[in-house]
Amino acid sequence: MNMMSDAAVEKALDKKMNDVSYKMIGKDVSVYYGDKRALYDVNLNVRENTVTALIGPSGCGKSTFLRCLNRMNDTIESAKVTGRITLDEEDIYDPAIDVVELRARVGMVFQKPNPFPKSIYENIAYGPRIHGLARNKAEMDQVVEASLQRAGLWNEAKDRLHESGTGLSGGQQQRLCIARAIAVSPEVILMDEPCSALDPIATAKVEELIHELRTNYTIVIVTHSMQQAARVSQRTAMFHLGHLVEEDDTDKMFTNPNDQRTQDYIMGRFG
């Protein structure tokens, strides 16, 4: 009886797993910087409307993998990517794919807040303007307001839309960068240690924001903070020395990881 029920549960779980829709699928992804290999045959799938955290010690390849997802590695002269990454079943490294369009669908937020030296309004309007998402000023105003609202920056910024974006505090700047990424209506948002340059209060705000964004976007976040991974993500992937160690539900990863290395890293034995 018990056995049966266990098997049933297992089966139910499997079925649930199979129902999961994957937004992005990485298969045998390897990255070389010149002669140096940074990533070894990583197989990692990103679930839709889920926050996936990539954790691991410095230099383990998690940022490299993140940057593969919107081909930001293309901007690095010596980088070479092999393997296959798909977005909604389309190979993003297919020569037929337009990298510009890809990056509009897979937005990115960087480690250090990097607002453009323009006004707050222009920072948000930048992406929509390039992609022609707003037909007139009124629509653009709407896009800007909606993006700032979603990034939880509207109340702080609405009276100073035309002041320089660089005049904001660090945390506000990072939320501005998130708003800027949202403004082009991406499907996936990549975040590369978005809170590493922020103080705890600003970090809390950004984390809260990530939590809310999950309903509309698929998010992949690289973080050095175990607590942050535990707080914001549903899935966690552990990298070590360029290998994907394991990937699982965040709850499971932090309570009962399969791999000893994950256990050690989470317990703070290395990293």
Binding site: M72, V100, F116, P117, I130, V184
Partner: protein
Amino acid sequence: MSTSLILLIVALIGLAGYVLGARQARRLAAAALPKMHSRPGYYGSYVAVWAGLPALLILAVWLVASPIYVNSSIRDNFPEDLKAQTEAAQSLTFGTIGSVARGLTVLTPEEVAQAQANPGELRVLLGGKGVPLAGDPEPFMVSAAAELNAMNATSRLAMTIAVIAASVVGFFYAYRMIAPRFRARNKVEQVILASLITASCIAILTTVGIVASMLTEAIQFFQMVPAWEFFFGTVWDPRFAAAGATDSAGQFGLIPLLAGTLYIGFVAMVVAVPVGIFSAIYMAEYASPRMRSAVKPLLEVLAGIPTIVYGFFALTTVGPFLRDLSTQLNGIATGNYSNFIQAQSVITAGFVMGIMLIPYVSSLSDDIITAVPRALRDGSLGLGATRSETIKRVVLPAALPGIVGALLMTASRAIGETMIVVLAAGVAARMQINPFEPMTTVTVKIVSQLTGDLEFTSPQTLVAFALGITLFAITLCLNIYALYIVRKYREQYE
């Protein structure tokens, strides 16, 4: 003892001071318990500074002051009738005494005694020894010359003793100061600071000196020619300076020269700015590292070519080419084979000057564009912007203040440029707007007014200084304006 020998001795004492001071410090450090404050080298340097610096200061002051003192005391002994004469005559006499004095040193004591007894023979006597004299010296001159020699010898001896004594005293003073508690490092740092300040003061004072010298000559010019005639005159016709005639009425109108300068500078910028900035964008944003490492040095070679060579290029290649081209074009268009571009013209000079300026524009702009943080580029690319959109909307606006500054500095180079325009622009000072005709510039006229045998009393030569100071004022204003713009934009973009 000669000055260089004294210098050598002081240097040797200083070196000995360094070695002994450092050794003493090391010995103290090994023996005594209180730790030495500084490392041995600092104690050595301290001793060397004390052995060298005061002695060198004394030497310098002495070398300046001694001739002045000797000169005035010899002149005080001039006969009364000579003292009543003009300053020029007194100077001439003193010059003669100087050469007699130099002559006396080559004579034997008997000959000197003979010469003092009979000054009339001195000229022949000295002529035989290879020392020419301009005229027969008067008796008082010979005795004055002997006195001059005696004074100089005394002075030199005293100087030698004083300098070496100062060096030795400084050495012992500093050597005895060496002790664990003594802060030699701080003292040596102070000396270094002082010498750095002195060096920068020299640069500033030189600038002040240059401006002052130009200003005094220019003021002299403006006493002969009214300032408004110079600054607002539209005719440049300085005539020739006749010797002694200070009233020759030339016309010194700055406007035609200024117009030519600005016109040629404008043409040069029209050539240099687009080419320079586009090549900078290519180098900074698109070129592969290999391409960059090959092309950048090549561009810098272009910047290293002397401007006179560009002048040749304009004179022998570009000018004739443009002239022949215009002949052909005119012939094809109208059947009349006559050139409408002169070999020496605004367009020739401006074009070649523009080529000369390309490396400045591109190299400066390249540095500025490269300095725009990578984070900004990534941010833009991450939003799905193309490379050129990123450059146009993010990189260039961020780099703009620097680029504007670079362009204004380039413009001030164009205005001050001389050799190309001397060879390629022509010398005709006229005001017209046809770029195919020759015009001339301020710098060309400075060169032509200061070429040949000159006397610096006529407005024909002094006008060069007025032109020079005007040019200086213009480029100074341009540079100040460049700094102002850079600062203003920087505030906006930070």
